[in-house]
Amino acid sequence: MNKFASAEELTRYQGELKRKTNGALKTISLCGGTGCKACGCNEIHTKLVEELNLREIRADIKVTGCQGFCEMAPLIVIRPDDTLYIQVKPRDIPEIVEKSIAGNEIVDRLVYHDSDGKPIPKESDVPFYKAQLRLVSKKTPYIDPMEIDDYIALGGYSALAKVLTSMSPEEVISEVKKSGLRGRGGGGFPTGRKWESCRKAEGERKFVICNADEGDPGAFMDCALLEGNPHQVLEGMLIGAYAIGSSEGFIYVRHEYPRAVQTFSNALFQAGEYGLLGKNILGTDFSFEVAINRGGGAFVCGESTALMASLEGRVGEPRAKYIHTVEHGLFNLPSNLNNVETWATVPAIIDMGVEEFTKIGNEKNKGTKMFSLVGKIKNTGLIEVPLGATLRQVVFDIGGGIAKEKAFKAIQTGGPSGGLLPEGMLDLPVDFDKLWEAGSMMGSGGMIVMDEDNCVVNISRYFLNFLKDESCGKCLPCREGIRYMMEILEKIEKGEGTMEDLETLEEIAHTVADTSICGLGKSAPNPVLSSLTYFKDEYIAHIKDKKCPGGICKALINYYILEDKCNGCGVCAKVCTMNAITGKKDQVHRIDLDLCEKCGACLESCPTEAIVRR
């Protein structure tokens, strides 16, 4: 395949591909996201190939990136009629092949059923997908990430062609500024303004950097994008580089995402083959190279200056931002750093045009945002909603409400820099400003839903413990302050907390936020502060009543066996390493509270859920 010498060659090739793909063959798209892979999507794939060969049926199998509905993994979608089969097992394959691929029937038992049992075979009708608006992740379910042609067939790189042939760098910047696009990394800084100041900065050599560190625990949108649709991210970087006037790009991928590195380097290779990367792209005098840099395993490297330090081969220590990285960034040269999702949104803006794009979202927050909806939610998965949608829509319409009919307690957004929001805030629109005002933060997009069985103090301590380990230790307030806050929370968890502790906690929180060097330190107190504002009663319960409402803090709870539910099966007694549980066969068992280590193994393994902790 020789290189595209001009934009026309690219569009001509796109036409050819389109004609080839909408042929008679059925496409079986199998979700290959990290979650599905963990559930055995490989076995299903091999079984599917076997079955098709056995029956000499020709069909196009596509193992795609994460399609979003992780709760119902592994997923199979039969195109073009878009039938969605969920929680598919290898043994279901023959039936699917026979009925849906050979014939046109639907295997009813494998289809999604809504809460009152009605089957909904069509993928787009399933409530999880219907309530979403897919813009950035629209192409992912239709592409094999290792195949550049799939992306081009869906109109990939046409935005780049349009930009290179008909727009000047300044026009591109003004388009992005007009679009109102704000950084998806969590800060929400207007991307257009950032590109403009980087373009204006002195110096010939400039860098374009993609921040794929995604250190927030509970967030995997960037991972899904990189693994599912690497070319869209690359195309965004190319457009940005052209606008800023840079010829060198870096992508800093997190240590825990080896598959993302694989798919992205393969994408780079293929783009280079097609002349979409390297010297004189599409015959123009714009050239751009991208180097992949694998992170060393440090959350702090998500911060721009620390990331650049890591890129320079140094320890990831942030520096004061009095001098902006767009003027003096990597190797002290102007560098424009954006998040994976921000880069991936750029081609969508250019393709659909600013008018269409600004229709989505609210007044100051334009476009859509991807979230990873996890925790005690029915439909855990990767979603994309327009900015301004309310939390309630996300949690209940898309998320399907709380699993196991438990009561909703809180939703945590923004990862370790974000905050805990109570039920009262569920009608808050999800955008940069409103979340910030509520004491939380958009963050990269992790949304962790918690129910009555979670403890707010424990979650706050978890985040502080995480930040204590991830702090680079360079500046005093973050290194010492976070540890002292965590120690106070540990005291409260043990039931030794006092009301003065809460005041000290607040005081430290403000000092750490005021005087830390980088974002990690500045935003570390947010989880604690927001939990203190919205869930003060839980703190008081721990301090005064020495009770843990969520039943998590070991020192304050005990395990009980409910007589009415216990059928005496003895599983709990077998599992208990401390053999604190006694009881004869088929008789109600009892837990000896002194011996009980509160390890929770019994509760986990009890078939009749007869064990509770209070």
Binding site: A38, C39, N293, T380, T577, G600
Partner: protein, 170 residues
């Protein structure tokens, strides 16, 4: 610190051949270290001095880098690498209970290698499979919906397999 003497000449030769592709540019140092760690399962001192010499990085920077980033280990790691995800989603689904169980029932402490050199436990933050939390990755292979009992079973199976292997080649 478990001091394992590696034969310097042998290590240098292996590294020469393995790292030939790199351009000896400072931005590669972290990736080079990761490649070395993949090969030896840990970072021997001989490898560090090799990289320091060839990439012209002072030993002071090297030592800070290998102790700063969690990916690197200065001690030999176990035969099986256990990575327990402690991301928020997994935390909320009681991953810490599994961490306590590993230490209490099987004597495998976080960020340490068991004395018999069989297991090394590391905690990671979110590997992107939150729907199947809590996640335990055993030698790169992800296992979802873990519970204390399931983990106990896996550990015992691995220990038995190891015992048999040892018995075989004796």
């Amino acid at each position: 610190m478990l001091q394992v003497e590696m034969n310097k000449k042998k290590v240098d030769a292996e590294l020469d051949e393995m790292l030939a592709g790199y351009e000896r540019d400072r931005t590669e140092v972290i990736m080079v270290l990761q490649d070395i760690q993949d090969k030896y399962n840990w970072l021997p001192q001989e490898a560090l001095t090799y990289v320091a010499k060839n990439w012209q990085i002072p030993m002071t920077d090297m030592y800070h880098i290998v102790t700063f980033y969690k990916a690197f280990s200065l001690k030999p790691r176990g035969k099986h690498i256990l990575q327990l995800c402690l991301g928020t989603a997994c935390h909320v689904r009681e991953a810490p209970f599994i961490l306590d169980a590993l230490e209490r029932d099987h004597g495998i402490k976080n960020r340490e290698t068991t004395d018999d050199g069989l297991f090394t436990l590391e905690t990671v933050n979110c590997v992107g499979a939150c729907a199947q939390g809590p996640i335990l990755i055993i030698d790169g292979q992800m296992r979802g919906n873990m519970t204390q009992t399931k983990v106990g079973g896996i550990i015992r199976k691995l220990r038995k397999a190891h015992k048999e292997e040892v018995a075989e080649n004796e």
